[in-house]
C-alpha cells in the first residue's frame, strides 16, 4: 500500500478523508470546548471567592 493508494482510496478519497477530517475536527473541538468551559468556571469561581473574601474582611474589620 503506497501513499498514492492511501490518498486515493480507490476514487473514494474525497469521501473517506473528509469524513476522517470532519470527525477529527469534532474531536479537537470538543477537547477545546471542554478545557475552555473548565477554565471559565475556574476564573468565575476565583472571582466569587475574592469578592466573598473582601466582604468578609470588611465586615470583620468594621465589627
Amino acid at each position: 500500500m503506497n501513499l498514492r493508494d492511501v490518498l486515493d482510496m480507490g476514487d473514494y478519497g474525497v469521501y473517506v478523508w473528509s469524513c476522517y477530517g470532519l470527525v477529527l475536527a469534532v474531536l479537537v473541538l470538543n477537547v477545546w470546548l471542554g478545557r475552555r468551559s473548565l477554565a471559565e468556571q475556574v476564573l468565575s469561581a476565583q472571582r466569587r471567592l475574592k469578592i466573598a473574601d473582601s466582604l468578609n474582611s470588611e465586615s470583620s474589620s468594621s465589627s
Binding site: 492511501v6 473517506v16 469534532v26 477537547v31 473548565l38
Partner: protein, 245 residues
C-alpha cells in the same frame, strides 16, 4: 468499595479525582485512535462491494454508538440526580449533553458523506440516519430547556425529567422509524449496514470504539469539573482546590 462510591459523590473529591484521571483517559485514547485509524485506513483489506469507501465506518460507527451511549448515560445520571438528589449526578448529565450532541452531528455528517458514493444521494431517510436526526433534536431540546432556567437547581431537575422521558422514548422512536422505513423497501436492504465484517476488518473498529469511549471519559472529566464549580457556589473547599490547580 461502597464507601469509595459514597466519597465519589462528594464534589471536592470528584473534582480532584476527575482532574487526576483525565490524562489517563486522554492519552491512551489518542494512542488508540492513531492505531485504529492506521488499521482502518491502511491495514484492513478493502471491502468486496464497497471498496475503500467502507473505511468510513471506522469513524461513523463509533460516533453513532457514542451518540446513543452518551444519551443513555446522561439520562441515567439525571435520573440518579432526581431520585437520590445527588447534585453530582446532575453535573454529570449536564456535562454529557454537548459532547453527545456533537457526536450526533458527526454521525449525521459522516453518514451523509458515506451515502453519496454508496447511494448517490447526500441524504436518505433510512432508519439509522432518521433516528440519529431525531436523537439530535432530543439533545438540542435538552440543552435548550437547561438554558431557559436561570437557577441551576431547577434547570437540573426540569431537564432530568425531559431526559428520562426522552430515553424512554428512544426505543419507541427507533422501532417506529424502522417500521416506517420497512413500508417502502420490500427486501430489507439496510442501506447503511456495515459490510459483512470479518476479523481483519473488525479489530480496527473495536479499537476505535474503545478509543472514542476513553476520549469521552476524558472530555467528561473536564466538563464535569466545570459543572461542579458552577454548582458549588461558596464552598470552602474551593479556595484550596483552586489555589492548587
Amino acid at each position: 468499595m461502597w464507601l469509595w462510591f459514597h466519597k465519589l459523590s462528594s464534589p471536592p473529591y470528584a473534582y480532584r479525582t476527575a482532574g487526576l484521571v483525565r490524562p489517563w483517559l486522554f492519552w491512551p485514547a489518542i494512542l488508540l485512535m492513531i492505531v485504529g485509524a492506521i488499521g482502518g485506513l491502511v491495514l484492513a483489506p478493502e471491502d468486496y462491494q464497497q471498496k475503500d469507501a467502507f473505511r468510513i465506518i471506522y469513524v461513523h460507527v463509533p460516533s453513532a454508538s457514542l451518540s446513543l451511549m452518551i444519551y443513555v448515560v446522561m439520562a441515567v445520571a439525571a435520573a440518579v440526580g432526581v431520585i437520590w438528589r445527588i447534585k453530582l449526578a446532575h453535573a454529570v448529565a449536564a456535562a454529557c449533553a454537548p459532547v453527545g450532541a456533537w457526536f450526533t452531528v458527526a454521525t449525521l455528517a459522516t453518514g451523509s458523506i458515506y451515502g453519496k458514493p454508496m447511494w448517490g444521494t447526500w441524504w436518505e431517510w433510512d432508519p439509522r440516519l432518521t433516528s440519529e436526526l431525531i436523537l439530535l433534536f432530543l439533545y438540542l431540546g435538552y440543552m435548550a430547556l437547561r438554558a431557559s432556567f436561570d437557577d441551576t437547581q431547577r434547570a437540573d431537575r426540569a431537564s432530568a425529567i425531559l431526559a428520562i422521558v426522552g430515553v424512554v422514548n428512544v426505543p419507541i422512536v427507533k422501532y417506529s422509524v424502522v417500521w416506517w422505513n420497512s413500508l417502502h423497501q420490500g427486501p430489507s436492504i439496510s442501506k447503511l449496514a456495515a459490510p459483512s465484517i470479518e476479523g481483519s476488518m473488525l479489530w480496527p473498529l473495536l479499537i476505535m470504539m474503545l478509543a472514542f469511549i476513553l476520549y469521552f471519559g476524558a472530555v467528561l472529566c473536564d466538563r464535569l469539573r466545570g459543572e461542579i464549580l458552577r454548582r458549588e457556589r461558596n464552598a470552602s473547599w474551593l479556595s484550596e482546590s483552586l489555589a492548587r490547580s
